[in-house]
Assembly symmetry: C2
Homo-oligomer: 210 residues x 2
Amino acid sequence: MQDRKLISKAVINRLPRYYRYLGLLKDQGVEHISSGDFSRMMKVTASQIRQDLNHFGGFGQQGYGYNVDKLYEEIGKILGLDRVYHTIVIGAGRIGQAIGSYEGFSNRGFRMEALFDRDPAKHGDEVGSGIKIYPLSYLKEYLKTHKVDIAAVAIPSEAANAVVPILVEGGVEAIWNFAHTDFDVPDNVIVQSVHLSESLMQLSYKIVHH
Amino acid sequence: MQDRKLISKAVINRLPRYYRYLGLLKDQGVEHISSGDFSRMMKVTASQIRQDLNHFGGFGQQGYGYNVDKLYEEIGKILGLDRVYHTIVIGAGRIGQAIGSYEGFSNRGFRMEALFDRDPAKHGDEVGSGIKIYPLSYLKEYLKTHKVDIAAVAIPSEAANAVVPILVEGGVEAIWNFAHTDFDVPDNVIVQSVHLSESLMQLSYKIVHH
DNA sequence: TAGATTGTTAATCGATTAACAATC
DNA sequence: TAGATTGTTAATCGATTAACAATC
């Protein structure tokens, strides 16, 4: 897909937060907001907000501010929230089940369609609104008959390293990684990692050095 | 605590990843590694590694490289992993239980000592290696009689906003936040957030724009 | 010693902030 | 219109990369 202009990585990482705050404003029925007010709400500079939003153009108006509804919708589109992502979860442990059953994701188009686990005791169980847990050994077959956009990987590192080639081979477009490891995948496969232990270490750093 | 030199935010965020890779090298019995080899392993530039590690000084040696054991230990200290953090978890849902029971955290000094939940059906239950679930209403009292360094908050945003003042009032030093919201806390309280939905949106952005 | 590799300075690149003319 | 506020350029700040002399 072609971008209007090239949007920098730093801006992209901020978009979901803008989106969240715009959602709050929308719920409150706010129609428009100035970069100044928005900056106080979000605790960033007004200058940064104007620079960032300007990439998308046309939602600000001098003397008035930004149209909340339009901006919310536009940022949603840019984030790819106007489509459906067929999503599976590898690992039906506590993290895997949490992801598979969280309604907030499906509300945004991340449709949870299957969980996979090696534990036979879990096979056939359901999570959330009827998402089935399948044997991990069925994954390969599943990928042959189902298009999968995103696979969330919520199993230990070693097992994860064994599963990833199956996902790649099976045509999964993106991996949402919760294992404490980095994957080696072809360029066309996207990996987005949530390294919880790294987050916790950044926290302990802050405790020790403040 | 006083830093030797001022270490930039970007470097700090990379430290846990260095630490993880050094742990792997240590397990493999590697005694020393050059910035060149390390850069190929970690897929960053050798220049960045030398710049980063140079902040701590004394672990590199010309013609030899870096001593793995010493560097691992030193970075561990800088990250604050040489001490114990009394840790509690607010919310005994799937995320809360996952955090409370994960052995990897306690192995690094993050001692999980109690969970709190408002659901009476869970009160008295145990998670992981005997960590009890208490009523949320007992939290205030608990904080009076126990020193808590870190509280992981794994409940929905609204409930979280109600609990945070109790944590702050109770002298909790740092909050590890899993709710989809930002907290307003005094300067001396640290907040480290894991915004899963934001991570997922960054992922969908990459899918749509690659 | 000769070769390898760091420590560190300088150059480049990118991101943030400030400022203000344009304009609703 | 006058006031408010954006869009956008220029200035600043910070982070990354390149280069090479120092040195083990």
